[in-house]
Symmetry: C2
Subunit: 336 residues, 2 copies
């Protein structure tokens, strides 16, 4: 607050500027709920009256309206509609949103914190797979919401899906089609989503009294089309090949279509395929891919709404959300 404020009253500024005392009070309290031109008129009037207005010229950090949305890299088109959803929520609340594509881990967390400080961000939405310590450090620094990938046991809000149930439903659907040997192509196991989809896959097998066969589980180290083509091709050319694939990503599902064709097998007759995510690729492929839809736009939208509530009220109790998935039946699955 300006040094000489006590010497003169709001009513003097009101007379000078023609602006109401309530509004002047909001300006003095650095409320964000004041138009820029009104704020300027108040400050101009104060200057004319000889006030020191330096403390009012720059809004303090809590009135900042920048949200950073963090993704691990630009590789995965899965994030695009999530970002669009978050952006829609940011805009309707008068916030700007910028995107940062970087992994966040122990070595890089301090760089990220310094970026937050430089840009004077008000809050962060993170889709990254972060070590617990980095996540806690971030949460201690700035309002934070975890989106999609998360550690639910921490006291940090999240918006995600129930991966166990989604995967179980997908595999049950393949079993209902009469498929007997169902392979699973999964992403890196440090991700919670990958751990949970593996649980769902195994649970469906167990409930149907199918034997667990570890040779049918292809655990890849990244979401790579080429790796998946190669792994699926090898599996399709063993003596006891699978008749179906459930995959943790539509990119893997597209790879299975290719590996099948290279092996002289047709999809869906010889091999049924269910992907995950419902990214654009899944309907642009020929045949189009049966897949688990994630409500991507809503994941982003609700994460950002939740974050803004936390920015406005840091004492808000932690609340989190699991959004519903659905199986979208397309051309890569049919009954045997």
């Amino acid at each position: 607050m300006a040094k000489e404020t006590k010497k003169i009253t709001y009513s003097e500024i009101a007379r000078r500027s023609g602006i109401s005392i309530a509004t002047i009070s909001r300006v003095m309290n650095n409320s964000s709920n004041v138009k820029d031109e009104t704020r300027k008129a108040v400050i101009d009037a104060m200057k004319e009256l000889g006030y020191d207005t330096s403390a009012l010229e720059v809004l303090p950090s809590k009135n900042n309206n920048l949200i950073l949305f963090n993704i691990p890299s630009m590789d995965n088109p899965f994030y695009s509609p999530i970002i669009q959803g978050a952006k829609a929520a940011a805009l309707r609340n008068g916030y700007n949103m910028l995107l940062n594509a970087d992994p966040i881990d122990e070595p890089s967390i301090n760089d990220f914190l310094s970026l937050l400080k430089k840009t004077d961000a008000a809050g962060v939405i993170a889709t990254n797979c972060m070590p617990r310590s980095a996540l806690l450090k971030l949460n201690n620094t700035i309002p934070l919401v975890q989106c999609c990938e998360c550690i639910p046991s921490l006291d940090i809000p999240f918006v995600t899906i129930d991966d166990v149930t989604a995967a179980k439903n997908a595999v049950e659907y393949l079993i209902s089609l009469g498929r007997k040997r169902i392979a699973f192509i999964n992403g890196p196991l440090q991700y919670k989503y990958a751990q949970d989809r593996l649980k769902g896959y195994l649970a469906a097998l167990d409930e149907a009294n199918f034997e667990r066969d570890s040779s049918l589980i292809l655990q890849l180290q990244e979401i790579s089309y080429d790796m998946a083509v190669s792994a699926a091709f090898q599996l399709l050319n063993t003596s006891n090949r699978p008749d179906a694939f459930f995959t943790s990503s539509d990119v893997y599902a597209a790879a299975v279509i290719n590996a099948g064709r290279k092996s002289g097998l047709s999809v869906p007759q010889d091999i049924a395929v269910v992907g995950f995510d419902n990214i654009d690729l899944s309907f642009m492929c020929t045949p189009s891919i049966t897949t688990v839809n994630q409500p991507k736009f809503q994941l982003g939208f609700h994460s950002c709404e939740m974050l803004i509530k936390r920015i406005c009220n840091e004492q808000l109790p932690i609340s989190s959300m699991y959004l519903n998935t659905e199986l979208i039946i397309r051309e890569t699955t049919q009954k045997v």
Copy 2:
């Protein structure tokens, strides 16, 4: 610079702080090449000696190291490797880079300028199709490089490809395969790339003495898979259907494969298809798509290197770059 600087010498500060005169000089000149703790030690010593250090407490804008990369929306996966390239250049030069996904036009340019101010960005890379006036306004405010989409006639540096030649080569290739009726699916004509690819398409037809047939040119209003499927399907079901498609995007090319199948026609036997961009979709499709590769990573990398040079030296003469494209032959094209 501090007011009383002249009264005492760097050697006094050096004695007090134990820091070299060269380093003190860098701090006084607000060089970014000084560790935070060293800067703090110098400032502390100056304070103890009675200096006014206020001008040194915050780095001025020109020492900021934030670059904003702007794309029109999150819809198009084409931008991902470009962003990765720009990010690589930013990192190796000690810059941070954040992504802003927004159209920039007359109504929104002021919001964008205010975002630049808020984040104290040092420079902008823009891939947007902007009105000339908005582009000039932006360029007058901050160091700017146009990437991919650009207005070459303005005095603003750009990194792009030669779309006319790239399109001409692609259509000449289809002609060399014996294709006689070559359709063209193009993006919105307000984009320079779309205007230039149309020029290239027509130039190839003219040189081969093919008749121009406006019914073969499908001018779409956005990069939409569904729109392209519908437009291609209609054209494939006319009495005088095309035997080849050149398309301004791999998304359109994937749509032609689908429309062909819906029409009982096979790719590449009945219809040859050449896409544009070489996005991941083009090799994940079955059949995989013959396409014009844009050097996406390099487009981003060189744009960012060019921007950083301009940030460091605003008097630098404008220089721009056209990068080479190449035709990647895959499964959607064969001789008739």
